[in-house]
Amino acid sequence: MNAISNTRNGACLVVCGAVAVALLISVLGCTPPAAAQPEQVIRYNLTTEPKTLDPTRNSDLMAGYIINHCYEGLLRDSNGKLIPGIAQSWDVSADGKTYTFHLRDAKWSDGKPVTAKDFEYSWKRVLDPEVASTYAYIFYFIKNGEARYNGKATPEDVGVTAKDDKTLVVELENPTSFFPQLTAFMAYMPVRSDIVENDPEKWALSAKTYAGNGPYILKEYGAAGLVMEKNPNYWNVSAVKLPRIESSFINEASTELAAFENGDLNILENFPSAEMPRISKTKGFVAFPQIVTYFYTINTEKKPLDDVRVRKALALAVDRKALVEKVLQGVDIPAINVVAQGLLDSAGKDFSKTSGNFGMDPAGSAKPDEARKLLAGAGYPDGKDFPELTLLYNTSEAHKQHAEAVQEMWRRELGINVKLMNQEWQVFLESRKSGNYDIARGHWWGDYADPMTFLDMFTSDAGTNWPRWKNAEYDKLIAQSMSLSGKERDEAMYKANAIFMNDMPIVPLFYPTDDFVIPENVKGVERTSWSAFYFGNTVIE
């Protein structure tokens, strides 16, 4: 990536000489005259070709962006706000466990009516173990959802029933206040049983058979990119402003930047990190917050990391402010909690910010004196006799830079030596899962906008409990909060979060933002709370 900035000066001569050629070309009239009306097309790059576009089998956000345009769930997520989708309204039972959705008159892109049965079919399809969908756990809130996916219940046991064509009744395991929000999520969008059953493996590979119920239809789909156009059969088609969206599959950040700068793309998402200082000053630069936490997980089964004082010392010695400003170029947010910011409790307060500081500085500065004291208390004054630990990360330039910065902070503040080790992604997953590490990188995307999406990662038997941390009280509180609601649920979750953070099995580092350049003439770009764009209300001026 540095090649770009380093070659800039060296290339100057060549550039100057060739500018003359470019001028000549434009004088000769090769450039088309400027159009009076800007073309109403969004050209947005997806880095890779999605593994599947089938909403019931997809777990990838890139495909989620396409699905969000071609499909519509019961509700729609517009900039994080819920607006009616296929459901006009819904009722909740007194115990909060049964939702009844009332569907509007809507059509599929081939003109057939959208019915409650479509939803029942699709949701049950995700939970079918034979389909082996990888996002099924997002349906575990539904009664018998988990049992079904694990092969311990029949489709009939699952709490989704189409009472008639226009009424969908959903029974939940526990009162789940954020359930309506889930119905706007990509995995909850409906597919057509007749089309899917006709060719379950290949139906989502061709624009011809890819029938949707959303604002757009897939017009072209190939290895080089895809095109979506307005769906004339969408129930709210009059509200869709942008007629056409094109997406390419450029997987090289410097190429995407070049394509954006010469006008082949309207929106810039990926660019070499070395360009951040320049890009962040560009007009139209936006850093969207996301539900993500970047942290280091500590193997609590290994000595001396089984000592909470050592873990706390490691957490306190990290200067998150410096990490964000110097290494991350100042866009991301320092993190002092595993729970990402922006997730609210029942009173509408930010859970992560309200939960507490757990001894860390909320602005992100290190507390070296306290860290040293803790380490001395654990028997390692000034880091003496502290064994050499290994910090493991998956191979990537960015992860390496973060690790080097933290390694230096620990060395400087605590006098301890940490060795860096990188592994290829799959090998890394294996090492982290099997506890074959001292300290390892972690990066978690919330699946839904509730603190629970982070908290339930660390129960004793969770597959994502990488620190191998066990706390019976924590398990109990998490289990309890599943069946509670409102203030009681908040209390249980705050308590659980405090137990976790005070024991520090992970070192939170920062909350990555999602950075874009959206030029000022591109108006009305929307984004879901789960980080997918929606261009239906976009106008290019």
Partner: protein, 306 residues
Amino acid sequence: MARFVISRVFSIALTLAVIVTLTFFMMHSIPGGPFAQDKEVPPEVLRVLEAKYRLDEPLYVQYANYVKGLLVWDLGPSFQKIGVSVNDIIKQSMPASAKLGAVTFVFVLLIGIPAGIFSAVKRDSFPDQAIRFMATLGQTIPSFVLATLLIYIFSSRLRIFPTFGLRTWKHFVLPAIALGGYSLSFVTRLVRSSMLEAMGQDYIRTARAKGVPEFQVFFKHALRNSLIPVVTYIGPLIATVITGSFVVEKVFAIPGMGKFFVDSITNRDYTVLMGLTILDAILLCAAILIVDLIYGLIDPRIRVDK
């Protein structure tokens, strides 16, 4: 001649069998699997997935199944792209790689051979030194630097060529230079040095002594002999440019085979990795075989059936 071809085909088949076997077992010995992810799938579902792709059988059975499929050129389903077979991936991605490869091949020979001859003829002149300098440069600049540099200058700044894709003839220019840069330099140097070597031979002196015009000495006597090393290089060159370069395809977002190759390793997409490795090996072996046959045409002294 027939005996030669048969024995070569036989040894190619043996080579391929070794490649298939080694790749298969090495691939399965690296940690990780196609269904590993941050959030693990429950054991029940993992069982379904493994049964579906027949990964639950003992490794030797999987190997036997794979070889059986291979004999009828059924390379199996991709583990990552739902509903797509490896045959589909090859069918879809090979044309892009092959088209770019063909353009690059022509570009390399069309410029490399004349440049090498010119350099040899004008030995130690300024143009020769300039060509030698460029050739050395071309061999040392990694293709990703060259590709990024080309995009930066010709797409980003000058806006003469497009940044990505393979739609019009203009789209081929920068990727072909980036892909062929190394080979072009190599061919130029090769032609130059073998041309100079040929020029020092006795038969050239004889030709000159007999009063053969200098033009004929170069093109009739020296050139023909100096092209033999180039022909040797053509085999690997074809195989390399046609199967796609990961770097060039990534930088120019070309939907070719190189991209799938590397992705398949990262994703542990076993069948794709196997299929593309085998295809690559077949193309390389075929190219080398063809080159062996061409030798005889250029130089009658090389008798392939001896």
